[in-house]
């Protein structure tokens, strides 16, 4: 189970980095969301995998069906992943809106065509609007 998960995480990382190295900003965002999913799976597998065990066992319920439960599933990685999913969802939404604004202003998603530095951009803005900027 661990090896299967680690191969999946590796594949997700590889495709995320491939997508992030493209020159299209939409592909960059897709790569970023793949990367956060890969990291979520990584945290999940780092919290020790187990099957069919209850997460929290009270002291008086330690004996179920005549068996003493000594092992239990780790609930913490799932709490961490839930938080991370919510945060990455919010960030992806914000980045998409920013990308859309940028697209509306420049009609391009190609990073090659966005090369002007912010300072240069301020200068160009001031030139274009007759110093009003």
């Amino acid at each position: 189970m661990e090896s299967l998960l680690s191969i999946t995480v590796g594949l997700l990382f590889a495709s995320a980095i491939y997508l992030m190295l493209r020159r299209n900003l939409i592909k960059f965002i897709f790569g970023l969301s793949l990367l956060s999913n890969a990291i979520n799976l990584l945290i999940f597998s780092l919290g020790r995998l187990s099957q069919g065990l209850p997460p929290i066992v009270p002291e008086e319920d330690k004996i179920i069906h005549g068996k003493v439960i000594v092992d239990f599933a780790n609930p913490l990685p799932q709490a961490l992943i839930l938080t991370a999913i919510v945060i990455s969802f919010g960030f992806t939404a914000f980045a998409l809106v920013l990308l859309y604004r940028n697209y509306r202003q420049r009609d391009t998603l190609n990073t090659e065509k966005l090369k002007a530095s912010p300072l240069e951009e301020v200068y160009l803005c001031h030139q274009g609007s007759g110093g009003q900027g």
């Binding site: 990367l35 914000f94 920013l98």
Partner: protein, 197 residues
């Protein structure tokens, strides 16, 4: 006294956070003067609170706040040690100075819309990042700090602003993804996310 200390440790986070929530409602009515004064009051209020925290720290040593009294490795804790007390006092001082400066420098349109709540949220995230005693909580406070700085950067929808905010946002998203990965790996190796352990 222990309860008082717990609230004192939390106060540099709670005051700007609650203030930001109220400022969101105030910004709905788009009145600049009210927002400015309220934001200024919040920034001024933080200075005596953090100084009181520093005084308690010099009296009693490291102050710890455990959320709902769960013991240390299981619960979420906020810790005020020498470094975090120092940083929180610096944040309160610099934050007040920036707030006074921003009254004249930030454009009226930005102030009317969402500048003040976002600024208070930024301060809350910063104080939380300094005071937390839990690595994953550090990540969460960092994200609060980042998202408010993203919006502050792109507020106004200028061409140059959006271009600058785009590269800032994308680089920060990669960096915080790697921070999260490191947090997960540290948890896998040590079995705990508590910073003092």
């Amino acid at each position: 006294m222990k309860l008082f200390d717990s609230w004192l440790v939390l106060s540099p986070i709670l005051v700007p956070f609650a203030g930001a929530a109220l400022l969101v409602f105030l910004s709905y009515y788009q009145r600049i003067k009210v927002q400015q004064r309220f934001s200024l009051v919040l920034s001024i209020l933080q200075l005596p609170l953090t100084l009181l925290l520093a005084w308690r720290f010099s009296q009693k040593g490291i102050l710890v706040m455990q959320a709902s009294n769960w013991p240390a490795p299981f619960g979420i804790s906020f810790v005020a040690d020498a470094l975090s007390v120092l940083m929180v006092v610096i944040v309160a001082m610099v934050g007040l100075a920036v707030n006074i400066y921003a009254l004249s420098d930030i454009g009226k349109d930005h102030q009317r819309f969402a500048y003040h709540p976002l600024y208070q949220l930024l301060i809350a995230g910063l104080n939380g990042a300094f005071l937390t005693g839990d690595l994953f909580n550090l990540y969460v406070w960092f994200e609060i700090l980042l998202i408010s700085s993203f919006v502050l950067l792109s507020l106004g929808n200028d061409r140059a602003q959006i271009r600058g905010a785009l590269s800032y946002v994308l680089l920060n998203l990669i960096a915080s993804a790697f921070f999260l990965m490191a947090t997960g790996m540290l948890y896998g190796y040590s079995g705990s996310l508590n910073l003092p352990i």
